[in-house]
């Protein structure tokens, strides 16, 4: 239990620092984060399943300039944890899978709001840094920067603990409400989410030549794999 808490906190700090403050080595991507969360709570495969869908969903929103995209890292923390506890020995059922994806949206929006707040507080840090430099202290730059990174790390840890906690709670409640035994219809929506993800990729890579490339591949792969499924 304690080691799980520590691991989640560490994943949170690393992922959120990587997201904005430093490195940007893509350790914050939903596929990575959701798999890690799934692994911490006992089912890396279920986490990866959710992570792969979340990975593409928000790509259409680019982190350009001062505009902040929805926090897909946070959504993946929620989704990975929820998927791991909601999955049974045969994996994650379609109804719970859909519900996990849909319920992760508030996390993405909350994470975005927190990100903006952190950047506002950084404004104070930057102002203080400039004041100190004007007084002749060149080391203030180093202190200011580290304060900013620390702020991203702390907020990331807090977000990771809250989102994964919410994910665990949701995961425990999901199976009875949305799982195979329930009357819920969320299961029929499941095929839709990868398509939204694909549309997101298609939208952010749009040029004159990408539309035929996208639709032709979709048709070819669809026909080919269907043929092999029937044949095999």
């Amino acid at each position: 239990m304690v080691w799980q808490l520590l691991l989640v906190a560490a994943i949170g700090a690393v992922a959120y620092i990587d997201r904005t403050a430093a490195f940007q080595l893509m350790l914050h991507r939903p596929l990575v984060v959701a798999t890690a969360m799934g692994a911490v709570f006992g089912n890396a495969f279920a986490g990866a399943q959710v992570g792969a869908v979340l990975e593409l969903l928000y790509l259409v929103r680019l982190p350009v300039g001062a505009s902040t995209p929805p926090d897909d890292t946070g959504a993946a923390m929620f989704g990975g944890a929820a998927a791991a506890v909601a999955s049974s020995s045969i994996g994650l059922d379609a109804g719970s899978f859909s519900a996990v994806l849909l319920l992760s949206v508030p996390c993405a929006e909350t994470g975005k709001a927190v990100d903006r707040l952190v950047r506002r507080v950084n404004g104070r840090i930057a102002a203080l840094t400039i004041e100190s430099v004007e007084r002749g202290d060149s080391q203030a730059v180093e202190h200011g920067l580290l304060a900013g990174v620390a702020l991203f790390a702390i907020s990331g840890t807090v977000l990771a603990l809250s989102f994964s906690g919410l994910g665990l709670a949701a995961g425990k409640l999901l199976l009875p409400c949305f799982g195979p035994a329930s009357k819920a219809r969320f299961a029929v929506m499941l095929p839709l989410f990868p398509l939204i993800g694909a549309a997101s990729v298609f939208s952010c890579t749009r040029t004159d030549r990408t539309a035929p490339a996208f639709y032709l591949t979709m048709w070819t792969v669809f026909a080919a794999t269907l043929f092999f499924r029937w044949a095999g």
Partner: protein, 158 residues
């Protein structure tokens, strides 16, 4: 009228313009109206590297905008007009280029400026320019990317 967007942005060409506004408006031409750039081939060549090759880039002085737009119109292109400051945009407007709305993307912070949105800070002259545009019936909206809800600047705000 070939103009699909008139934008004030202190950074002129950058990611928000290339990756969000160009696809959103479907423009195939970018007019950068800036007196400094028009006389600096080095910086122009760097800016040209930043847009996809299919986009037609035009650099011109502020007073040449109307003439350039006429030429672009004859090619039936759709253009985005970029200015780096509010007063530049006002000069373009006063020299005969007409548009019905103007988008404010980024105007960076300096001491004494008032925050309008996270990336837009107005100086007293900027408020003056907003009044001027409003008097001419030009709508002023503050929006960094087309995804944002954006705010319309009310004339009473100061």
């Amino acid at each position: 009228m070939p103009l699909v967007l008139v934008r004030v942005d202190c950074r002129l060409i950058h990611g928000q313009v290339v990756e969000t506004w160009l696809p959103h408006t479907g423009a195939n031409c970018v007019v950068v109206a800036n007196d400094d750039l028009a006389g600096n081939p080095f910086l122009r060549s760097v800016m040209e590297l930043a847009v996809p090759p299919s986009i037609h880039m035009v650099f011109c002085r502020l007073d040449e905008v109307a003439k350039e737009l006429e030429r672009i119109d004859s090619h039936e292109e759709k253009a985005i007009l970029l200015c780096s400051t509010f007063s530049d945009a006002l000069r373009v407007y006063n020299s005969g280029t007409r548009f019905s709305s103007i988008n404010i993307g980024n105007l960076h912070y300096a001491a004494g400026k008032v925050e309008i949105s996270p990336s837009v800070f107005f100086s007293p002259e900027d408020f003056e320019a907003v009044h001027n545009f409003r008097d001419h019936g030009v709508e002023v909206n503050v929006r960094a990317t087309p995804f944002e809800a954006g705010t319309t600047c009310e004339p009473g705000r100061k």
